[in-house]
């Protein structure tokens, strides 16, 4: 199944349904229509018919275009994790968009005024459940074959350590964009704090966005930079400005190390990605140091000069085996 052809055909079908469904029953719908429901079954927001059709169409068309562009670019679909995420997002979001459209139209059907449109609580729950099920099923069906082991694996040059010599390797990675976001976020928090102290802001406005800003700040502090140190008998991966938390991996647990090109689109975004046993610490696309455990698991870190780090890890492991 060619993903680009499938995505194009399916997307056109969904777009047609998004526009066609409200048009087909236009004379039975009120104008404006109820489009948002608060707690309980009473609507608290409305849109004109045209605006409604535009909204439900864009709700689907925008992610659809993103999916098509991603498929054409091709890197995402080269890996199993990427394929599962792509198919899951495509079908999950289409079912979500269709479900929202269908339940809104059903709620508005044959009512004279939008304030009377009732939405049963079970509808949104059903829509979300159906979307999740579609995403999981599509991800499973579209997973394809397992990734080839030697896909992009680059064996590092071998390094010989001389007796009486002490070798260490330090790799560092810094993402200026994440740093910029973090600084901007901290600035907003400071301004809000100042306004709060002056009594200018209203708790109702700040309340909902404060947790979000705090999460961005913490995540930003953790993912702006990282360092990897190889020395003596261990590899230490320190995360964030303070290098805390740090992951310490004794060399005795490592089978071998190598470098690999990995991109956020392949592993599912920035930050800590994947599951234990196949995780990636992704701060920027490009060269990554991959550590293969004796147990078969792997840990990858995006870091500069990774090949030399891998060389040293392998050399230190070889030295331990010999002695």
């Amino acid at each position: 199944m060619n993903p680009r052809v499938t995505a194009t055909a399916w997307g056109l079908l969904v777009t047609a349904a998004q526009i066609g469904l409200p048009l087909a029953v236009r004379d039975r719908l009120p104008d404006p229509m109820a489009t948002h429901w608060g707690p309980g079954d009473r609507p608290d927001g409305s849109q004109s018919f045209t605006a409604y059709v535009l909204t439900v169409t864009l709700f689907w068309v925008v992610p659809w275009i993103v999916a098509l562009v991603t498929a054409v670019e091709g890197r995402t679909l080269a890996r199993r994790q990427g394929r599962m995420a792509w198919w899951g997002a495509l079908f999950g979001l289409s079912v979500l968009a269709l479900g929202i459209n269908l339940s809104s139209v059903l709620a508005n059907l044959d009512v004279t005024d939008w304030t009377r449109a009732e939405l049963e609580v079970v509808h949104p729950l059903l829509v979300i459940a159906a979307a999740l099920a579609a995403a999981v099923l599509a991800g499973y069906l579209g997973r394809g074959g397992p990734d080839a082991l030697s896909d992009e694996r680059r064996e590092p040059p071998s390094l010989r350590l001389r007796p009486g010599q002490r070798a260490v390797w330090v790799g560092h990675v810094f993402n200026p964009w994440l740093a910029l976001i973090t600084v901007a976020d901290a600035a907003v928090l400071l301004v809000l704090a100042a306004l709060g102290l002056l009594g200018v802001t209203d708790g109702n406005v700040v309340g909902p966005i404060l947790p979000g800003l705090l999460i961005v700040l913490v995540v930003g502090l953790l993912t702006t930079q990282a360092s990897v140190r190889v020395s003596g008998d261990r590899v230490v991966i320190g995360i964030g400005l303070l290098r805390v938390p740090a992951r310490r991996i004794p060399l005795s647990k490592i089978e071998s190390a190598w470098s690999e090109e990995r991109y956020p689109s392949q592993v599912g975004g920035w930050g800590f990605r994947g599951l234990p046993g196949g995780a990636t610490i992704m701060l920027r696309g490009g060269e990554c140091l991959v550590i293969g455990y004796r147990t078969g698991g792997r840990l990858a870190v995006s870091v500069d000069d990774a090949a030399r780090g891998a060389s040293l890890i392998n050399a230190l492991i070889a030295e331990r085996v010999e002695s």
Partner: protein, 119 residues
């Protein structure tokens, strides 16, 4: 950045660190404009005081091999100073060659004679 220190080296620690960084830049792991890992990471990996690493970095800056920039940390000096970096590396290699020669009982003059005999 791969740094190697000789455990029997009697020179002051900051000179040894400077030499190791010179070698690391010389073998191509860092290109002009590339940012070095922060001094505290280097110090932690080597198990030495960050000030010792900073002193080595300052020495290399004075040689023209490194640049200190506010907010951007320490980076390898640009292509305009490649000549300078090349000379710094040659000095480092020559120093190491001389040490090795002494280990085999040859002195500075012997080494110069060997160099002159080269085609």
């Amino acid at each position: 950045m791969l740094l190697t220190l000789d455990l029997n080296d009697a020179r002051p620690l900051h000179e040894q660190v400077a030499g190791a960084i010179r070698r690391a830049i010389g073998d191509g792991s860092y290109l002009p404009g590339d940012r070095l890992p922060p001094a505290r990471d280097l110090a932690q990996a080597l198990g030495i005081n960050p000030n010792t690493v900073l002193r080595a970095l300052r020495d290399l800056r004075d040689e023209g091999l490194l640049e200190f920039r506010r907010g951007r940390g320490v980076s390898v000096a640009g292509p305009a100073t490649e000549q300078v970096a090349g000379r710094a590396l040659l000095v480092q290699r020559a120093r190491e060659l001389l040490e090795e020669a002494r280990r085999y009982g040859y002195g500075r003059d012997d080494l110069i004679t060997i160099l002159e005999e080269l085609p």
